[in-house]
Symmetry: C3
Subunit: 262 residues, 3 copies
């Protein structure tokens, strides 16, 4: 399979930012399919961008390039990098915490600082490295398939990690962090692998009762539910409603989930 190029950004859909990135990529690597993962990461939310990348990666072929641009520090001292996971996936983007979770989970084969890559567009801007740095280097990586063609390889790289993430699991209280809120208002936390404990349980979060469930359509209309979401993370939703709006939950919030009965 020709190596596809995936895009994940917070650029939204009002502007040509994504379209111009695709045009730059297509001119360098016209045979490589470009697949939008998502461009609706909340503006500058590294927490949500990092989660979405992690949730997507089991469904992306190892022989692929994933360009991620959530980049509040563009033009500052933060590094622009390309790296290869031990799984074979190539990641391209800013070194600001977006990649640290995946690097910890899967291991990193190598990393290149592409801030001065020969493939950067000439007259690179200070505000749009998606177009000027990440797109051309991602496209070259898709064509060549070798990280070292972009520059000198670091073999034991240290990545910038994320701030503000809390996770503490005790028998009857789980404290976690909201990583993402989806289009339907479902609230996705950093608590994983608890599926066995959810069914039939009764929980309390923010003073409201939540029923353990298999999916957001269990129970009756309006019920608050707690279930294992499609990424394996603990997720909360309202049957037929928008939970995040109801309870004013934001990305980055810390939540205590109390187990009442099971």
């Amino acid at each position: 399979m020709v190596r596809p190029i995936y895009l994940l950004t917070d650029f939204g859909h009002q502007d040509i930012y994504v379209g111009v990135m695709k045009s730059v990529i297509h001119q360098i690597a016209p045979k490589h399919p470009i697949i939008d993962l998502c461009h609706g990461v909340p503006a500058q939310s590294i927490l949500s961008g990092s989660y979405q990348l992690k949730a997507a990666i089991p469904y992306l072929p190892a022989a692929s390039v994933i360009i991620v641009v959530v980049d509040p520090g563009v033009g500052s001292q933060r590094r622009a990098i390309a790296l290869e996971l031990d799984t074979g996936h190539f990641l391209v983007g800013p070194d600001n915490g977006l990649f640290s979770d995946l690097a910890d989970q899967f291991g990193v084969k190598g990393l290149v600082n592409i801030g001065e890559s020969p493939f950067n567009l000439s007259q690179s801007s200070h505000t749009f490295h998606g177009r000027d740095i990440f797109a051309p280097n991602g496209a070259e990586l898709a064509r060549k398939g070798r990280l070292k063609d972009l520059g000198p390889l670091e073999l034991k790289p240290k990545l910038v990690s994320q701030d503000g993430v809390v996770l503490r699991i005790e028998s009857r209280v789980w404290r976690g962090t909201v990583l993402h809120i989806d289009h339907f208002g479902n609230v996705i936390t950093n608590i994983e692998n608890l599926a066995g404990n959810l069914d039939e349980g009764l929980f309390s979060v923010l003073g409201h009762h939540f029923q353990g469930a298999r999916t957001f359509s269990d129970g009756r209309l309006g019920d608050y539910l707690l279930y294992q979401g499609s990424s394996g993370h603990l997720e909360m939703g309202a049957n037929g409603g928008n939970l995040a709006r109801d309870l004013d939950i934001q990305i980055g919030d810390h939540l205590d989930i109390l187990l009442l009965d099971s």
Copy 2:
């Protein structure tokens, strides 16, 4: 022509849901183009999803696969299906009313229940059948072009139909249902094939005067207009404005259109 795969969902653009579906499809059917019809169907609105599918289909080649995911009942008892219209189009999605209008209009050659299809992703989730069931079966269908490769064929299938749709045409009063509201605030109804009656007519809807017209830019800025929209349905709009917002019209509303003069 290689059979293209169209996607129509209510997944919006904040999440990786659509991107992951595309990635699953692309890995199974890398030569088949994937074309986004729309991912902005209002959350869980079967009425709008069904209308948008019907409005699109005259412009989709018969040799195509259309995956539609508006699925409030995911994980419940509703069937996951793939069917072939007599036109040759393949439709893949939940059996919840999305497909009943088209099935009535064009006829159905056959249907397969894909809830237990061998092509479903292993460890299928309870919340994301777009990724786990509809994407892989749609991709296999595009490659193979034969419904029966997905499972046992039902030849006279009965589909779940839609609720809440009213349509009654009398000489001076037309009662219809709002199927969709577009990005510009234009209001699209289930009343069809009345073009001959619109020109020069004067109408009353919700206590406001509407002028019969050819297009939403007829008349003067701010005029309320009633015209045959691009899908052949009766449509209402405000020249230069947003009619649905002005008059607080929602999808699913029943409207009486009174013919005052013609």
Copy 3:
């Protein structure tokens, strides 16, 4: 390279309008990649559409077709046109001011009025020329690569120009027009090529102080900044915030930028 087809519209993402255009194009020109530039131009804003086209074009290959649909006058007397710039780019869309800036800047080789093109879909609607006129003619142009195949060529065409644009540069006061507001709330003006004057300067706009900068992440959180944006235009933003929302700035506004110190 096979000639790609770019799309730039104000159709948004709630509807099948863009998807149906792509389907029409794909059936005519299945080998030609279709690349979305942007579909989030503010509804009927010719100013923003024209700016976005101009900002994108340095990144689009000369051998490409760009279909632009921001078309408040669809169905009225405005012309539907296809033209070739002296750079080789083909532009397809309504003649309503969208193309006049580019035509002035790069020169026009020729133009065809496609309102009655033989490639228009039969039974063309009055409301959706994107589907019925611009998509099929754009696709034919991509395949054939020759404007005159669409109809009789005008060699010295006169294009409709834009209204409401002000630009006056004096030594200590720059008066300009807001062309676009991006997803991050950054405000993009029609003032160009002033980069040398920005660094270290202190400015006043709408009664607020702005610091001259290299990028929107300079200075401290909350600072108002004035810098050369990624399209070379003078741009204003708030570090970590949304400037347009803060100061209630709209597309089309005229702004006076006072140079206090440099």
